[in-house]
C-alpha cells in the first residue's frame, strides 16, 4: 500500500511539476512570479475543447491552435500589464499577475460556463499495473512530457542564440542590452514560450482534473510550492519539487490524516526551506545590484 501511495503521489505530483515548469521559466528570465500561469493552461484547454467540439477540428490541430492562442495571450498580457510596470517592485508585479489570474478566471467563466466538463484525451488512459501497483497512463504521459519539455528547454537555453540571449538578459539586463540584445523581444519570447508551456500543461491536465475555470487553482498553489522547493530557477528542480509534494501529500495521508495531508505537505516545505533556504536545487542567492 505504501508503494501504491507513493506511486499515486508521483502521479499527482506530475501535475504540479508540469505547471511549475512554466512558473520557473518566466521567473528565471523576467523576475516575475506569474500567478496567471495556471489559468493560461485553463484557457488553452477551453480553446482546445471549443475547437474540437464546435469546429470539429482534430485533436492535434486543436492542441496547436490552443498553444498558439495561449502564447499570443501570454505575450499580450506581458505587453499590457507587465511591460508598463517594468520598474515596479517584484511584489507589485506579483499582484498584477494575480489580477490577470482573476480576470482570466472571470472571463472564462462568463464565456464557457462554470460547470465542470469532461475533456477528451486521445492518449490511452487505461491504468498500468506493475506488481499490483497501479498508475494511470495519463499521469505517465504528463511525466514524460515534463521531462521532454525540460530537455528541450535545456537544449534551447544552452545551444540557441535566442536561449543565450534569454540567459544573458536574465543575468544582467543592462549588459545584455549593451551587447545588442533586444530585451523587450526576449521578454515577449519568454512569455510566449511560457504561454505555450501552460497550454501543453492545461491540455494534459484537463482530462484528469476535469475542465472548469477552477481547474488550475489548487494545482497552481502546489506548483508554486514545487517551484519554491526546487529553488525557483531550476527547471529540473521544479519537476523534482512537484513530485516531492505529490508524494509527501500522500504519505502524510497514509500516516497522519487524509484531511490534513495538504497541510502537512506545506509544513514539510517550510521545514525544508528552513534547512535549505535556497530550495533543494537552488544556488546561492545574491542581491542584484
Amino acid at each position: 500500500m505504501i508503494a501504491q501511495q507513493m506511486v499515486s503521489g508521483l502521479a499527482a505530483g506530475s501535475l504540479y511539476a508540469l505547471t511549475a515548469l512554466g512558473l520557473v521559466l518566466i521567473f528565471k528570465n523576467t523576475d516575475v512570479v506569474n500567478f496567471a500561469q495556471g489559468d493560461f493552461g485553463m484557457v488553452a484547454a477551453f480553446v482546445a475543447l471549443m475547437a474540437i467540439s464546435q469546429f470539429k477540428v482534430p485533436f492535434v490541430l486543436a492542441t496547436l491552435v490552443a498553444i498558439v492562442t495561449t502564447a499570443i495571450l501570454a505575450v499580450v498580457v506581458d505587453r499590457l500589464t507587465i511591460r508598463p510596470m517594468k520598474n515596479a517592485s517584484m511584489l507589485s508585479l506579483m499582484i498584477a499577475t494575480l489580477g490577470v489570474y482573476m480576470i482570466l478566471h472571470g472571463v472564462a467563466g462568463a464565456i464557457w460556463g462554470r460547470d465542470t466538463k469532461a475533456f477528451p484525451s486521445p492518449l490511452p488512459s487505461d491504468p498500468v499495473s506493475v506488481n499490483g501497483v497501479v498508475i494511470g497512463q495519463g499521469h505517465l504521459w504528463i511525466l514524460a512530457f515534463g521531462f521532454i519539455i525540460s530537455a528541450v528547454l535545456f537544449v534551447f537555453f544552452r545551444y540557441t542564440t535566442a536561449g543565450l540571449a534569454m540567459r544573458a538578459t536574465a543575468e544582467d539586463r543592462m549588459a545584455a542590452r549593451l551587447m545588442g540584445v533586444n530585451v523587450s523581444r526576449i521578454f515577449a519570447l519568454t512569455w510566449g514560450v511560457s504561454g505555450a508551456l501552460a497550454a501543453v500543461a492545461g491540455i494534459l491536465l484537463a482530462p484528469l482534473v476535469y475542465l472548469s475555470p477552477n481547474m488550475m487553482s489548487d494545482v497552481l498553489v502546489k506548483a508554486y510550492a514545487a517551484a519554491v522547493l526546487g529553488g525557483f530557477g531550476s527547471l529540473p528542480g521544479a519537476i523534482v519539487g512537484g513530485l516531492f509534494i505529490g508524494v509527501a501529500e500522500n504519505l502524510a495521508g497514509e500516516f497522519i490524516s487524509t484531511e490534513l495531508r495538504t497541510t502537512f505537505a506545506f509544513v514539510l516545505i517550510v521545514v525544508v526551506l528552513a534547512v535549505r533556504p535556497t530550495g533543494v536545487f537552488g544556488r546561492r542567492i545574491q542581491a542584484k545590484v
Binding site: Q4, M90, R114, N250, G253, E254, T258, E259, P277
Partner: protein, 433 residues
C-alpha cells in the same frame, strides 16, 4: 545563474498568502449549496399551536376589511415573490434552481395565474455572498414588500437571512439548503425543501445493510459541515444496524487528487463503500476505484447525483453504483417529469433540464398549490395554513408532500438510482427515512 532580488523564504511566504486568496476563491465553487446539521425530527416534534389554522378562518369573513389591510405583495391581479439567486460568481451553476422555479411560474401565469392573480417572481442576484443576500432580502421585505420568499438558493446565503425573514413573518418556501438552521427551524414561516444529511447518512447505512448485506462500512466524505453531518448520520445508523465503520476519509473541496483516500478505504477492506461527494470528486473517486480494480459495492449521496459523472469518469467506472435521490430523474418517463421537461424547453430552451432545475420547479409547484388553496383572499397566514393542508399530495415532483403545523419539510423521502451503462435507473420506491 540569475541572481534574485528576493529570497525564497519571501517567495514561500507570498505563496502561502496567495494560496489562501486563491483557495478562498476556488473552494467556494466546489462547495455544495446544501449543508445541514441535525435531524429534521426536531422540527416535527415541535408542535406550534394550531392558531394559524384558526386565524384565516376567522379573517375569512370580513373581506372588505382585509382588502384595506393590504397584504404585502398582493394586489388584485398579482402576487410578488422574491428569490435570491447566484446569477453570477462561482456558484452560478446553481442559478438553475431559480430558472426551474421561474419556468414553472411563467407556465402558471400563461395558464391564467392563480385565482386570477399573476405571479411576479422576482429573482435578484446575490452572487452567493451572504452579505449581499442580506441587502437583497431587506429590499425584498422593506421596499418591494414581497408576499413570500420562494425557491431561493444556498446554504450560506439562507443562513444569513433566515432569522430576519422569520422575524419579519415572511414565508420562506423551498430554500435550496439543508442547513440545520433552516431544515430544523421551528418557525411556522419556514418550509425547507429537502431532508438534511444526518438523516441521509442513516439511510445510506441501512441501504448498505439491506442491499449489500454489508457489516463493514467505509466512507469517503467532503470535509465540511455537510459531509461531516452525513458521516455522523452514517455512524449513528451503523451503530443501530450493528455495522462497523472501518475507515472514514475526508477530502478537501479544493483537492485535485483523491487517490490517497481511496487507497486508505480499500486497505480497510470494507463490505461497502459509502461516498458523500460533489459530482467532480465523486467522479475522481470512481476513477481511482476503477484504476485499482476494486469492485466494492458502493452507495453515494444525492449531492453527487449528476450525469456529468459519466462524462468525467466514464460510464463503466460508475456501473452498478447506487446513489440516493430526492426526486425522480429528469429523464424519467413519469408524466410530471415529462411536463417538467416540456415547460423547461419552452421557457429555457438553452438549458439541459437537471435535478437542480427540479429543486426550484418542485418548490414552485408547492408554492402555487398553497396559493391556490389559500383562495382569493390571500394572506400570509392563510397561505401557510393552506400549505399545511397538503396531505400525500402527488401534484408536484416532490414525492407525496405532507405538510402540517410543525411538519414543514417538503421532500421527506429518499429514493435510490443505480448507474447502468451511462444512465441512472430508478431502483425501488421512495421511502421516508
Amino acid at each position: 545563474m540569475p541572481a534574485k532580488r528576493l529570497s525564497l523564504t519571501f517567495l514561500a511566504t507570498m505563496a502561502l498568502v496567495v494560496s489562501v486568496v486563491v483557495s478562498a476563491c476556488s473552494s467556494q465553487s466546489a462547495q455544495q449549496p446544501a449543508t445541514s446539521s441535525q435531524p429534521t425530527q426536531a422540527a416535527s416534534s415541535q408542535k406550534p399551536a394550531a392558531e394559524p389554522e384558526k386565524k384565516p378562518a376567522a379573517s375569512d369573513k370580513p373581506v372588505a376589511e382585509k382588502k384595506a389591510e393590504a397584504v404585502p405583495g398582493v394586489t388584485a391581479d398579482s402576487i410578488l415573490l422574491g428569490s435570491y439567486q447566484p446569477m453570477t460568481g462561482n456558484e452560478s451553476a446553481y442559478f438553475r434552481m431559480g430558472k426551474g422555479a421561474d419556468a414553472y411560474y411563467k407556465y402558471v401565469n400563461e395558464n391564467g395565474g392563480v385565482n386570477g392573480r399573476k405571479i411576479n417572481f422576482k429573482m435578484v442576484d446575490d452572487g452567493y455572498q451572504p452579505a449581499k443576500t442580506t441587502a437583497v432580502v431587506k429590499q425584498f421585505v422593506e421596499q418591494d414588500h414581497v408576499f413570500a420568499i420562494a425557491d431561493p438558493l444556498g446554504t450560506a446565503p439562507t443562513m444569513a437571512v433566515v432569522d430576519y425573514i422569520v422575524d419579519q413573518k415572511v414565508p420562506l418556501i423551498g430554500p435550496g439548503s439543508g442547513a440545520s438552521k433552516v431544515v430544523n427551524s421551528t418557525s411556522k414561516y419556514v418550509f425547507p425543501l429537502y431532508p438534511n444529511y444526518v438523516r441521509e447518512g442513516q439511510v445510506l447505512a441501512k441501504f448498505a445493510q439491506q442491499n449489500f448485506k454489508a457489516t463493514k462500512l467505509a466512507m469517503i466524505y467532503q470535509n465540511d459541515q455537510s459531509g461531516k453531518d452525513d458521516l455522523s448520520g452514517l455512524q449513528e445508523g451503523a451503530q443501530k444496524n450493528n455495522q462497523q465503520v472501518v475507515s472514514t476519509q475526508g477530502y478537501e473541496v479544493k483537492d485535485v487528487d483523491v487517490s490517497a483516500q481511496v487507497l486508505k478505504v480499500k486497505e480497510a477492506n470494507p463490505d461497502a463503500l459509502v461516498v458523500f461527494a460533489a459530482p467532480e470528486h465523486f467522479a475522481k473517486i470512481l476513477t481511482e476505484r476503477k484504476k485499482l480494480g476494486w469492485n466494492v459495492p458502493t452507495v453515494a449521496s444525492f449531492v453527487g447525483l449528476d450525469d456529468v459523472i459519466f462524462k468525467l469518469a466514464g460510464p463503466d467506472a460508475a456501473n452498478g453504483v447506487y446513489i440516493s435521490t430526492i426526486f425522480k430523474l429528469p429523464d424519467s418517463d413519469d408524466p410530471q417529469i415529462k411536463q417538467f421537461r416540456e415547460i423547461m424547453k419552452k421557457y429555457y430552451p438553452q438549458e439541459e433540464p437537471s435535478l437542480i432545475h427540479m429543486w426550484g420547479y418542485a418548490g414552485a409547484q408547492v408554492t402555487v398549490e398553497g396559493l391556490k388553496r389559500a383562495g382569493k383572499d390571500l394572506t400570509r397566514d392563510n397561505f401557510i395554513s393552506a400549505l399545511e393542508t397538503l396531505k400525500d399530495w402527488d401534484g408536484s415532483l416532490a414525492y407525496k408532500v405532507t405538510l402540517a403545523p410543525g411538519k414543514h419539510l417538503i421532500q421527506r423521502s429518499l429514493g435510490f438510482v443505480q448507474a447502468q451503462n451511462g444512465k441512472f435507473k430508478m431502483s425501488g420506491d421512495f421511502v421516508e427515512p
